[in-house]
């Protein structure tokens, strides 16, 4: 009796293992022949429901192209799956949402279709802002359609500033002075939060300070310089605020952090233009307390900004339906209909048409007490400084940011040693991956 049960159990286990293996083997994505109707797989972490609806609208006018919208995880999670599929040689989607910082990595390893020289490239050149075009250009090639951008701005609690008798700062010097003043007046409130696990905001703020720490020449020569004056300027501002405990070091996007956002723990949140939609989803109850102002400047009266976040959608070179995929993206990201609906989902648009449309510019933002926020944010987009590049392996570099710089942020220490340690790990990883990495300018 016992032995029969054991055999049954073992047999069942074996059968299950086989089923699992078979299931792994059959997830091969789209493989329909390209002559008839095709189905494209689109990996994105935009809301699956609304995005699928949008894709269905496309199919109405393009009956031969169906699009299957799949949420394969957000950012890093999706890249992990994408890397695994690319490594396995099957299972990769036709189109993937890829953030700008990760784009060079996939472009240089030739996993993405280079659009330059095609009609799609001329569409991108004519319809998107120059700043957005720069973000999808890697080593002279155009590798994706901009989907949304994140020019930075300062979201702030106007109720707290009023209580403290302050106006939103226009320069970083003023920001630092206000940080001391507001915490003195309101001991529960800090000027802002520096998330130890957020390399994106840190690098964007370096960008805004005029830094160019990462340079790639050709596809293999990389220069890393986190020891330049602009980075030091950034580091000394935030080191000072951290050492004086005028800013917090909470981990962002946690329940605790949102709790702090709602409770007035942070007076400002300096981040990308996409912020209001996330805020509305999490802390709509404070919508009458928030407003937006341009990001503080290093030089009084200047207009220098940077991008933080934002995504592109790219066609994978492994796709058997590249032409159809490009056709879909052209419609989704650059057509009047597609782009407008993406904006309605809360994405900040990269298309010139929308950025100049009076109805969009004058739309009240419900999260920011009905402020005409788009005017401020569109100006921020125009002010984005050219010349910034991400590493061809920024995904890894970002993953170890918290080990070095993030560690110093958590400890409330000077950030220079952390920056040096981060540079060291960036250099050694790059060399081990076959790049030729130099430090210094």
């Amino acid at each position: 009796m016992t032995s029969r049960f054991r055999r049954l159990a073992a047999g069942a286990a074996a059968a299950m293992a086989l089923v699992t293996l078979a299931a792994c083997g059959s997830g091969g994505g789209s493989s329909a022949s390209s002559s008839g109707p095709v189905t494209l797989t689109f990996w994105t972490w935009l809301g699956t429901g609304p995005t699928q609806k949008l894709a269905n609208e496309f199919t109405k006018t393009h009956p031969n192209i169906k699009v299957n919208v799949v949420n394969a995880g957000r950012s890093q999670e999706e890249y992990t799956k994408l890397d695994t599929a690319l490594k396995a040689g099957k299972g990769a989607p036709d189109i993937a949402q890829i953030e700008y910082f990760a784009l060079p990595q996939y472009a240089i390893t030739q996993h993405l279709v280079n659009l330059s020289g095609t009609s799609a490239a001329s569409v991108i050149k004519s319809k998107f802002t120059p700043a957005a075009q720069r973000q999808v250009t890697v080593n002279g090639g155009i590798y994706a359609f901009p989907q949304d951008v994140g020019p930075m701005a300062m979201f702030y609690r106007k109720d707290l500033f009023k209580k403290a008798g302050l106006k939103p700062p226009k320069t970083w010097a003023q920001y630092a002075a206000d940080a001391a003043a507001i915490h003195k007046k309101l001991p529960q409130t800090y000027m802002g939060n520096v998330d130890p696990g957020d390399p994106g905001t840190a690098t964007s703020l370096m960008w805004q300070a005029g830094a160019t720490p990462f340079r790639t020449t050709g596809t293999t020569h990389v220069t890393v310089n986190l020891d330049q004056p602009a980075v030091r300027k950034w580091a000394s501002l935030w080191s000072g605020l951290l050492e004086k405990k005028l800013v917090t070091t909470d981990t962002g996007w946690t329940a605790s952090w949102w709790h702090g956002m709602a409770a007035g723990r942070y007076a400002t949140w300096i981040t990308g233009a996409w912020a209001p939609v996330s805020m509305y989803a999490a802390i709509a109850q404070t919508k009458s307390d928030w407003a937006v102002a341009p990001i503080p400047q290093w030089t009084p009266g200047a207009h220098v900004d940077a991008q933080n976040g934002g995504s592109s959608s790219a066609v994978l070179s492994s796709s058997p339906h590249k032409a159809q995929a490009i056709e879909f993206l052209e419609w989704l990201d650059s057509s009047q209909q597609g782009a407008k609906q993406l904006a309605n989902l809360g994405l900040f648009p990269p298309t010139k048409a929308l950025l100049n449309s009076p109805s969009w510019l004058n739309a009240p933002q419900r999260m920011l007490d009905n402020q005409k926020a788009n005017k401020v944010l569109a100006q921020a987009g125009d002010d984005v400084a050219p010349g910034w590049q991400y590493l061809p392996y920024q995904v890894y570099a970002n993953s170890v940011f918290a080990d070095s710089v993030g560690h110093d942020i958590s400890a409330g220490k000077n950030l220079i040693p952390g920056l040096q340690a981060w540079q060291k790990s960036i250099v050694s990883y790059g060399n081990s991956q076959g790049f030729s990495v130099k430090t210094g300018s």
């Binding site: 055999r7 293992a17 890093q76 293999t220 709790h259 392996y393 995904v395 993953s399 170890v400 918290a402």
Partner: protein
Amino acid sequence: MAVGNAVVDDAAVGDRPSGARRRRGGVTGRQGGVTRHNRVGYALFLPFLAVFVVTIVAPLVYAIYLSLYRDQMIGGNVFSGLANYTQALGDSLFLSGLSRVGLFLVVQVPVMLILAMLIALAIDSGRLAGAKIFRIGVFIPYAVPGVVATLMWGYLVGRQFGLAGSISADLGIGLPNFLSSGWMLATIGNVTTWEFTGYNMLIFYAALRAIPVELYEAAEVDGAGEFRKAWSIKVPALRRALVLATTFSIIGSFQLFNEPSIMQQLAPGVVSTNYTPNLYAYNLAFNGQEYNYAAAVAVVLGVVTVVLAYVVQLWTARRERVL
């Protein structure tokens, strides 16, 4: 814990046939019966073997194969011999993670095992009111998935609106920040102790139940009290169970992953990507695309674990011979 369970299964499968053969050898004749019995034995064994080969042996062999290559973003896949291993043995990030779990092992495991042993002795003493409820109560944390347990504790000790935060703020007691770098390892130790004390308690309790009652009776005749019985009969009887529990705990410590990985979400500047060797291998493979090097790190980690577990077994076996 998967490894622990595999060990249990393994032992069961290994013990059963030999015992059966011994018994049967006395009853049935030798010829004919043995070959038929063997055939049935193999048939019964085959499904297990198939699953074992597919799920344990094949991945191991593949990991070793991977660890001998180096696949670069620029330059492609090349055979690199033992280069990954020499790199791992000199990799300060890997070694610091290894020494961190070593420290964890030396501190957390004794605390947990002594606690589990005391609870098992208390339940076995028969003097506890509501012993059954107590037993299941101590065991229940083991049934809570590690991820949930860690999240729960993360919230309990969190600064913003956790219990520790509230106590700090409302009662004015200056509790330390349990998620800071000085306290993190202790916090993780606390979570794992909470999770696994009940499991180890059950191992000890089962060993205590296996002690023949005659021994106690004899001791009582000799005038031994409860404490004397516990010290002279029960604790020595726990030695084998202790070796088993220690072996599981060594494996568990070196494979520490869930708890630090969740804590990393709560305190990324504190729990680094190389906090434990497993976390390091994970980050290398899935954020760094260094599958080959990650495989080498995993193999080295596996060897270290096996050696340590073996040393514990050897050491206790020698002690047993001496005693």
